[in-house]
């Protein structure tokens, strides 16, 4: 019984000992962890290089167009999906998860689409599908004519709340 009591006493109170014991164990395992850490960093760098290579090759600056989506935190709208059309052609359909909506509400911005456009005027249309005020089905579209120049074009689709109308509002912002 004494052995047992001593065991539990040690277990219950020896948190500080665990700190130092963990330190020694950590030192022994450091080699393995360092090797994994190094691999992780190398893959991140390679991933970055490959993204850059892909973008340079597929979406050169003079034709590139990227569409982003942001969401106001208290918007009177629960977003389910977005459909994006460029010159009346569907280029993206996206269905959102709960986790993604939370990330958007916290200030995250989603890269919805990246593609190529020739210089000149183009029409961008976005359809927002979800639940509006009073949990009713809600579908709205917003459209904008964009002028594609020789530089990459960044477009932000913004879903904002309009408390005066108690309705969500959909805006298109073109970044310079």
């Amino acid at each position: 019984m004494k052995v047992f009591i001593a065991f539990f006493l040690f277990y219950s109170i020896a948190f500080s000992n665990i700190v130092s014991a963990e330190g020694e164990k950590a030192a022994a395992e450091q080699g393995v962890h360092q090797s994994i850490e190094s691999l992780k960093n190398e893959v991140i760098e390679l991933n970055r290089d490959l993204f850059i290579l892909e973008e340079d090759l597929l979406f050169s600056a003079n034709t590139q167009v990227s569409v982003f989506l942001s969401l106001d935190v208290d918007v009177l709208f629960k977003l389910d999906s977005v459909q994006l059309k460029l010159d009346d052609k569907v280029v993206s359909n996206y269905l959102y998860t709960e986790r993604e909506i939370k990330a958007l509400k916290r200030g995250g911005v989603q890269k919805l689409y990246i593609g190529n456009l020739t210089s000149g005027e183009h029409e961008l249309t976005a359809f927002f599908i979800g639940k509006g005020p009073s949990n009713r089905d809600f579908k709205r579209a917003t459209s904008k004519t964009i002028e594609k120049s020789d530089y990459a074009k960044y477009i932000e689709l913004k879903i904002v709340g309009d408390s005066s109308k108690e309705q969500p509002d959909f805006e298109v912002k073109v970044w310079e």
């Binding site: 006493l9 500080s16 942001s70 935190v73 916290r106 709340g161």
Partner: protein, 627 residues
């Protein structure tokens, strides 16, 4: 070790608090997000979903293209925090140090303090305690409350590492009253104090545990700490022979908590100590009938019950319960033997793999859900421990890295094909363009422009205004000249043409006068048109040269892509090989850890089994002697 997981959770909170705080305008009733940089926002989007790998990549790509334009230091702070969350300590430390050393930047106190805090935490996690302390001390007052409390907790831990109990105790005064961090720090301080040799320190440690044990907070973490403090105090009282006091402490522990089984076992022993064997059996029977047979406290209860019956002189019952204990131990030994086979089988590794390819893993908590229920029944404390969770997380991260490399490896042929197609299309288009006949007109137009310029120059030199006459004026002059010839023919006739001649003279004079007086304006207009023509021809030539240049340089640009793709392909293959090896090593390590834990568990059961067997034999002997 428990606090390390806690730190990780709060790390996310602390970084988010700064990032969101700085990237949002706080209103009275609502928060409106103002996107300052799209790439920064995309990185945050991944970060909020705990996709650290993607978030880091996004920031690095944005940095390459210089897409982040805002002047504040949130991106660097976010990058350092992301590295830390992704357990890339070296990169995290370098990022924060670079940020803090950049004297050109006018950094707000809040950002500077957050950078110092995260850097200090990085040092702490790497066991560099003096460096961590130094960073924490340099923090002014720009930390949000949550981070400030965490800083105090880490400072307390560092002081305890240095056996500086005075400073460790002082830090406890700076926490807010409801802080769970304070209770953790107090528990750590008390645990260290009661292990010291000086009585004064031991008493102080017990006083602290007493305070924690009387905490009436409703928060779950405070209640867990309360149970732990009471359990420690109860066993110390039991060790010191004060059974009644120990029961008081045991009674404060919740009936449904992680310490419940240990408390029930302890209550039994306290009663046993007081020779209250009947009362001792009650909590042990309760434990034995619980569904947690694999718990060591329950196994101890199995063998303790017959001990108590022996003391009560209920030998038949004692014999019966030794039999039950032996059956239970044998059953558990069989089950754990099956588990040894299971851990050695490929199925164990398959169950560790979540199966959702490409999903970025930030925690291995869900692994437990996928594992064989029998394994979790026996090894739940181990599987939930930080040691196993850290190793399992590393394993899952390696699987994700392999997934990413496979994805890119599959994409390399596509990239090569796209490059080939682009090259082909480009060549075709360019040769079509260059072969276009309209391009030859540029040369003709240039020649014409030069001839025109020479003509204008001659007109200017001769000041022959009539050469600038309009088409109508030229027609009018020609008509007048024809009239002059007719007058010549009519001069031998007797008809009086003096009136007509006079009118002709007036008209000619008026026309020439108009042209000559308008000469400067006409010359200016001609020169202006000539300039515009030259400018248009210049632009045309420029475009032609650009086309020619593109024609000449395009092959070398494509060659650049060829080399880049080939180089990355090589890197992918080499890294994939190393990752495959690391995955195999990590699988072996996880298997070894689980087997070792199971071995210890089995040893404990074997020990109880042997003790029960011996006691049963002893009891049989005594019964035989009696008969």
């Amino acid at each position: 070790m428990w606090y390390r997981n806690f730190i990780k959770v709060l790390l996310a909170v602390s970084v988010i608090s700064v990032c969101v705080y700085c990237s949002s305008a706080r209103g009275e009733d609502k928060i409106e997000h103002q996107v300052k940089d799209l790439s920064y926002g995309v990185s945050l989007y991944n970060y909020f979903q705990q996709k650290y790998f993607s978030a880091i990549t996004e920031l690095l790509v944005a940095d390459h293209y210089q897409r982040i334009k805002s002047a504040d230091n949130n991106p660097a702070l976010l990058l350092g925090g992301l590295y830390l969350s992704y357990d890339l300590h070296k990169q995290s430390s370098e990022t924060f140090q670079r940020l803090l050393k950049n004297e050109k930047l006018e950094m707000p106190v809040a950002i500077r303090d957050q950078a110092l805090f995260l850097l200090g935490k990085n040092h702490y996690q790497n066991g560099l305690f003096p460096q961590a302390e130094s960073e924490f001390i340099n923090i002014k007052d720009g930390l949000p409350l949550e981070s400030e409390e965490e800083r105090l907790f880490l400072m307390n831990a560092i002081f305890l590492q240095n056996d500086d109990f005075v400073q460790a105790q002082k830090t406890l005064d700076f926490f807010s009253s409801e802080s769970v961090w304070r209770d953790y720090a107090k528990f750590n301080t008390a645990s260290r104090l009661i292990q010291q040799a000086e009585e004064e320190k031991i008493i102080l440690g017990f006083d602290m545990l007493d305070e924690l044990g009387s905490n009436d907070s409703q928060y779950i973490e405070n209640r867990i700490l309360k149970d732990k403090a009471n359990l420690a105090l109860a066993y110390v009282a039991l060790r010191d022979g004060d059974s009644e006091r120990s029961i008081d402490y045991f009674n404060k522990i919740r009936l449904k908590g992680i310490e419940t089984n240990k408390a029930l076992l302890g209550v039994g022993w306290a009663r046993y100590r007081e020779d209250e064997f009947k009362e001792a059996v009650i909590p042990w029977m309760h434990l034995a009938s619980s569904q947690t047979e694999s718990d060591l406290a329950v196994q101890e209860a199995f063998i303790s019950i017959p001990y108590a019956f022996e003391k009560l002189e209920l030998k038949d019952q004692a014999l019966h319960h030794y039999g039950l204990a032996l059956d239970s131990y044998k059953f558990q030994l069989d089950e754990t033997q099956q588990l040894v086979g299971f851990i050695k089988s490929p199925e164990f590794i398959e169950q560790l793999n979540p199966g959702s390819l490409g999903k970025e893993i930030t925690s291995a908590v869900n692994v437990i859900k996928n594992l064989d229920p029998l394994l979790t029944q026996y090894l739940l404390p181990f599987l939930s421990s930080n040691v196993f969770q850290t190793e399992a997380k590393s394993y899952l991260e390696l699987l994700h890295l392999r997934y990413m490399l496979n994805h890119w490896q599959n994409n390399v042929p596509a990239l090569q094909m796209i490059l080939r197609e682009k090259r082909k299309t480009y060549k075709n288009k360019l040769s079509q363009t260059m072969g276009d006949e309209s391009l030859n007109k540029v040369e003709v137009l240039t020649r014409k422009s030069r001839a025109l310029a020479n003509r204008v120059k001659q007109i200017e030199q001769s000041e022959d205004a009539l050469k600038l006459a309009t088409v109508d004026e030229v027609k009018q002059i020609e008509l007048l000249e024809k009239s002059d010839k007719r007058f010549e023919k009519l001069k031998n006739l007797d008809e009086d043409i003096s009136d007509s001649k006079n009118r002709y003279r007036l008209l000619k004079g008026r026309l020439i006068w108009d042209i000559e007086t308008d000469y400067p304006a006409r010359m200016w207009a001609v020169k202006r048109q000539l300039q515009q023509l030259n400018a248009a021809i210049f632009d045309m030539n420029k475009s032609m040269k650009s086309l020619e240049r593109a024609w000449k340089t395009a092959p070398s640009d494509f060659n650049g892509f060829d080399a880049r793709i080939a180089n990355k392909d090589k890197q992918i293959k080499s890294l994939k090989q190393r990752i495959d090896q690391s995955i195999i090593s990590q699988e072996k390590y996880l298997r070894m850890m689980a087997l070792e834990e199971l071995r210890l568990h089995r040893n404990q059961i074997k020990l109880y089994h042997d003790r029960a067997l011996y006691a049963k034999a002893r009891l049989y002997d005594s019964l035989m002697e009696r008969h």
